[in-house]
């Protein structure tokens, strides 16, 4: 029994897939309550009833969007883990920043939706998604901050969150921040990557941190 989401993934040209794509975009842009089923149907160029026919009610569609995005993120994280494994901390960080940023900037609705769903509630049921946060401990281990699942302290998790927050914030806020920096997309991405490396590398690089501790 394939779910609607599985069907949409199987056939990217299907109506289900088109609806899912528009829903991702719009929910990311305006948030759950800021999007009406009519807006989605309109962007796809179909009637609302067609939308309901494929996805059921609004909440189901939103769930599908969140699940879809969640799975994509997990995939990217696993890619990073694979490529970064065994490398030095600096290299691991650079790979993580470059790979994740490329992904987030290629699909802007992903960071927007994650940020919105993490920071605001939906009314009235309060759709809660903690699946993403379940992967934070894995990142902590992959980054070499903790030896194993049991050895991950709240402090380690907070550091992983700091890294993730930084990337997601810059990606989600591109339209606002780009204006402030007075740069175009391409340069914005470049500056963001540089800034993230500038901020994160010293903190997580042992030698530098030790040198600083000695100096000061």
């Amino acid at each position: 029994m394939p779910t609607p989401l599985e069907k949409a993934r199987k056939n990217p040209d299907s109506m289900k897939a088109k609806i899912l794509l528009s829903a991702r975009h719009l929910f990311g842009e305006y948030g759950y309550h800021g999007v009406t089923t009519r807006m989605i149907a309109n962007e796809v160029g179909i009637d609302i009833s067609t939308l309901h026919y494929h996805w059921g009610d609004k909440e189901s569609l939103y769930d599908a969007v969140v699940t879809d995005i969640h799975d994509e993120i997990i995939g990217v994280l696993k890619d990073v883990e694979k490529v970064a494994h065994g490398k030095s901390m600096t290299t691991r960080l650079n790979i993580a920043i470059d790979t994740v940023c490329d992904f987030l900037f290629a699909k802007p609705e992903v960071p927007k939706l994650v940020v919105v769903s993490a920071f605001t509630k939906t009314r009235p049921h309060g759709i809660k998604d903690d699946r993403l946060s379940q992967h934070v401990p894995n990142i902590a281990i992959a980054m070499g901050l903790a030896p194993d699942k049991k050895g991950v302290s709240p402090r380690d998790l907070a550091r992983v969150l700091a890294i993730a927050n930084a990337m997601y914030s810059f990606a989600s806020g591109e339209s606002s921040f780009k204006q402030l920096l007075k740069v175009e997309h391409k340069e914005y991405v470049s500056i963001v990557k540089d800034t993230l490396k500038f901020i994160l590398t010293p903190a997580f690089t042992q030698e530098t941190a030790q040198n600083l501790a000695v100096r000061s």
Copy 2:
């Protein structure tokens, strides 16, 4: 001619002030479209018509909330500038992190609303607030990243944004992140401050060290 916002500030016990407070809370929690005028009126314990009598339409009230919060933030930033002036980079950072975090955690609706208003659009007019970002250059100067208003590069601005993003993200996402870290509020605040210092201090003190090394 005092505006409704000025009246509300003048008399904190007034109905206008009560409405403003509930509106801050609810808009921060659910976002613009996630809040109905009835929700606000209900939380205050009044009729919707009373709400409209005091604040006009929903958008005006939202504007007032954004302005109110904006002014508070500007106040805190000026405080930080005053206290941090002339101190070392490490001290400046510590003061900024402690002061701003204390403020953001004392009034959780502030970071939530800022993040939401920066990262999501409102429909249909797209209420855009770039007043806050106008202060970013000032922070760059106050932090010692640039000599004067003309010398602030996009890179400097991005670094200030990184600092601000980190604080706002941790404050906005407290409810999600606290759960993940499995700690209570007080410990969460402590961990966040430590993590911010851990991440930010090395980066910005290293640059200072590098600059000094280059000059000599």
